[in-house]
């Protein structure tokens, strides 16, 4: 989009923070490539304005209670997958009121400003009637007064009833006996006094008996409940066992089917990967090597990740893994180590070993010329020689020659096969003098450089010869690496145009 580039403000041009090694190269790059390319580099940045609707969606997502309990990296990753830019994600995070630092702070966040959220969470959190002693926070008193009042009334009524019963049971007999005592004081019979006490004691005993009877009742009932529960559990376990057996059978069945499919020739194959299972198997970050790099903790999270990915595709069958792969996987899962592993010491024998001197100067890439190269004639070793009809990429060849065992294209490309029967690709011509071919190919770049150096004196362009000398100096000195490489890079490129064109 041409307009895209034109609207770039000039201040977008790099570089504000210079890369450590490349400040010189950047200056050189800017000078060399000009402002056009510098404008192009800012194409690699998002320059769209921030979209408010996306931010609103993100805020709704981030405010969801479930999302608040998830790690921040997951939230960011989800928003990125939805196509939000970094700026939009940052803005959404900024706008969401309480970004809790950890999931456990949901309780303290209730004391926040808004009333709506605390109410919902309070009601969810509060168990059935709170103890009488609890004092609600004063800010909530106003909302809960009616509720609290009802509870208080209920509790009072219960306590009143309890008191009444207690009074009736124990206090009134005591009162009665006291009255009797007073009345019988004239008789002053000690026996009557004693009567009252056994009376009270009997009452107490009776009450105790009743209590114990009630307790035993309760105990019996709870015991029965426990029995029932254990029976239920037994049934459940039986059920699980049966299910497990069924699962085993189904697994073996599917294995058989898979095996049959692999060996069958003519079934049209409509494979598609089950992303969940596949990503766990083929990539194997979860199952790989239980003792790698002390990252055991990672394996739990990895396996958790690989088993809870985004929704799998509708048609789910995993790519058929080689049988030996499955064998090795099961070995690893059992904890065994395959026997063919050797102990190898692959540490550098001399960590200060010098980097070698490069013997060849770097070659220009075909795309540095700006246009794709022209087709060349097929001369030289076998790997250079092309099918004269290589523009078609010769898919007919392959489909015709393969015996058709796994040839899913044969049914869809009958035209290609018919074409194949009428035209046979010519055999590549044999190389008459292989040594000559090799000699032509290999030492040319080096020889060319030497030749050019010799010819430098008589060269018309002193500038080119200077570059040549720089290039040869560089390759001879063994490449200090960074600094000189950048400086000479641009000159090298123009230099290599000469070499490259002649070399091809």
């Amino acid at each position: 989009m041409a307009t895209h580039q034109q609207t770039q403000p000039p201040s977008d041009f790099p570089p504000s923070p210079p890369h450590e090694n490349s400040s010189i190269s950047e200056a050189a790059n800017e000078v060399q490539q000009g402002s056009e390319t510098a404008k192009l580099e800012s194409v690699f940045k998002n320059s769209e304005p921030i979209r408010e609707d996306q931010i609103q969606n993100a805020i709704k997502f981030l405010s969801h209670p479930r999302v608040r309990g998830s790690p921040v990296i997951h939230r960011r990753s989800f928003l990125e997958r939805k196509g939000l830019t970094k700026e939009e994600i940052d803005e959404a995070f900024r706008r969401v009121p309480d970004p809790p630092p950890s999931p456990q702070t949901t309780v303290t966040s209730q004391e926040a400003v808004s009333n709506v959220q605390p109410q919902g969470q309070m009601q969810a959190m509060q168990p059935a009637p709170p103890p009488v002693v609890m004092i609600p926070p004063p800010s909530l008193l106003s909302r809960f007064r009616w509720y609290h009042a009802l509870l208080a009334v209920g509790v009072l009524a219960a306590s009143g009833a309890g008191t009444a019963v207690f009074v009736k049971r124990s206090l009134i007999p005591r009162l009665k006996s006291w009255v009797r005592k007073i009345m019988s004081e004239e008789e002053s019979d000690p026996l009557e006094k004693a009567d009252a006490k056994p009376g009270l004691a009997e009452e107490a005993v009776a009450a105790a008996k009743a209590a114990s009877a009630a307790a035993s009742d309760v105990a019996r009932v709870s015991q029965e409940m426990m029995k029932a529960k254990s029976e239920e559990r037994k049934n459940f376990e039986e059920l699980m066992q049966l299910l497990g057996v069924q699962v085993q059978e189904m697994k073996s069945l599917s294995n058989n089917i898979r095996y049959l499919e692999r060996n069958s020739n003519n079934l049209p194959k409509v494979y598609s990967a089950n992303q969940e299972v596949y990503s766990g198997l083929a990539k194997t970050p979860a199952e790989r090597r239980p003792y790698a790099n002390g990252s055991n903790v990672d394996y739990d999270t990895r396996s958790a990740r690989s088993t809870s990915p985004p929704a799998p595709p509708a048609d789910s069958s995993q790519p058929p893994h080689p049988k030996s792969y499955m064998d090795i996987m099961s070995m690893i899962q059992r904890g065994e180590k395959p026997s063919n592993i050797r102990e190898i010491n692959d540490m550098p024998p001399n960590p200060n070993q010098q980097l070698p001197n490069p013997r060849i100067a770097p070659k220009a890439k075909p795309w540095d010329y700006g246009q794709p190269p022209q087709d060349e004639s097929s001369n030289g070793p076998w790997w250079q020689q092309k099918n004269p009809r290589s523009a078609d990429f010769g898919y007919e060849t392959t489909t015709a020659r393969s015996i058709g065992i796994r040839n899913e294209t044969s049914t869809t490309e009958p035209a290609a096969i018919q074409k194949q029967r009428s035209w046979v690709p010519p055999q590549p011509p044999p190389v008459v003098m292989p040594e000559a071919a090799e000699a032509i190919r290999r030492p040319k770049p080096q020889a060319k450089i030497d030749q050019e150096v010799v010819a430098a004196a008589s060269d018309d362009q002193p500038g080119v010869s200077d570059e040549l000398q720089k290039v040869t100096k560089f390759s001879e000195s063994g490449g200090d690496g960074s600094g000189r490489l950048e400086i000479t890079e641009i000159q090298e490129e123009s230099q290599h145009q000469h070499i490259g064109q002649e070399g091809n």
Binding site: P14, S25, N29, E41, F44, K45, S77, K86, K269, Y271, S272, A273, Q275, Y278, S279, A282, T284, P285, N293, D298, P310, P319, Y325, I328, I341, I344, D346, P348, P349, L355, P358, P362, K363, K365, P366, W367, Q371, P372, P381, W382, W383, Q384, Q385, K386, N387, R389, D392, F393, G394, Y395, T397, T398, S402, P434, R441, G479, G481, S482, E486, E489
Partner: protein, 317 residues
């Protein structure tokens, strides 16, 4: 036969940017689950079609990726399953190798890519959700890029701009980065499932392709990244690697767990222009030579490495 049989399962193959007939292969024992690894350096024999090994390096853990240095012709860099990044000099014998080993990543290093324009630095992408920027002569990484929420499967430099790179991750996003900026400059939610690979168009520096577990390859333009330029369907299983041709503007090569290597032209209505089904197990590595137009190599879990010219049958002798 232009084919090489390795003792271990193949993971990645890369042509040398200096020598037309040279390529490196990363392999891992036991499918990379648990075991040793080996790096093979192969030569294409000039006399007749054939691939021979010139040198091999053993590693204690699986080698997931390998890349050649763009500044030193004999140096290659390996991404190892124990989280280390090792540098090898193929001009030295195996007992003198590796010449460097950097242990910084916390988990498996899944990819390594050398900067083709600056030629002084390389990037590694790891399952520890980060990428690191390195230079060969420095003992420690220069920068760590930590933003992805899941494993980073690949990081690839832009072929024209030496400071820009892209990363493909299991968190389903593709991110564009600039090493001069503190964080990513673009986040593209490219797929609904894990993105296993990405690569830049060599002739259009704003276009890149991503491949995913959802069996598709999508081609994106960073200037209008809300919708892809093209969605390439045709693979039967997850697409493990995608590569833009160094010689043709619109040509993409891909390899997949459906054991095929496919060629696509994303500007054409019927995008699939070639399919090779020479592998008998998952095809996981693919490369197209920068020096020889049309030369391709692929490797897979069937322990085979094929090198062939587009249009030929990889299995033909």
């Amino acid at each position: 036969m232009p084919m090489f049989k390795a003792p271990f399962n193949g993971y990645s193959v890369k042509f040398s940017p200096f020598y037309e007939s040279r390529l490196a292969v990363a392999t891992a024992q036991n499918f990379g689950i648990l075991g040793n690894g080996r790096i093979h350096v192969l030569e294409l024999s000039p006399g007749g079609p054939g691939v021979t090994e010139s040198i091999a390096f053993d590693t204690a853990d699986a080698v997931y990726d390998v890349c050649w240095s763009e500044s030193h012709d004999s140096v290659l860099i390996a991404a190892i399953g124990d989280g280390s990044v090792k540098i090898y000099d193929t001009a030295l014998p195996p007992p003198s190798n590796p010449i460097r080993s950097f242990q910084e990543h916390a988990r498996e290093v899944h990819s390594v890519d050398y900067n083709p324009t600056r030629r002084d630095s390389f990037l590694t992408a790891s399952w520890d959700d980060t990428m690191k920027l390195w230079a060969m002569d420095r003992p420690a990484s220069i920068r760590t890029f930590k933003e992805h929420a899941y494993c980073v499967y690949q990081a690839v430099w832009n072929p024209k701009h030496g400071d820009i790179f892209a990363s493909a991750s299991g968190d389903c996003t593709l991110r564009i980065w600039d090493v001069r900026e503190p964080g990513s400059t673009m986040i593209i939610p490219a797929h609904d499932f894990e993105i296993l690979s990405c690569d830049w168009n060599k002739y259009d520096d704003c276009v890149l392709a991503t491949s995913s577990v959802d069996k598709t390859i999508k081609v994106w333009d960073v200037r209008s990244y809300r919708a892809p330029l093209a969605v390439l369907n045709g693979h039967g299983y997850a697409v493990r690697k995608v590569k833009f041709s160094p010689h043709r503007r619109n040509l993409i090569a891909s390899c997949s767990y459906d054991m095929t290597v496919c060629l696509w032209d994303y500007m054409v209505e019927d995008a699939l222009v070639g399919r090779y089904d020479h592998h008998t197990e998952f095809a996981v590595g693919i490369d197209m030579s920068v020096l020889v137009e049309g030369l391709m190599a692929s490797t897979g879990w069937d322990e085979l490495v094929y090198v062939w010219q587009q249009g030929m049958d990889p299995r033909a002798s």
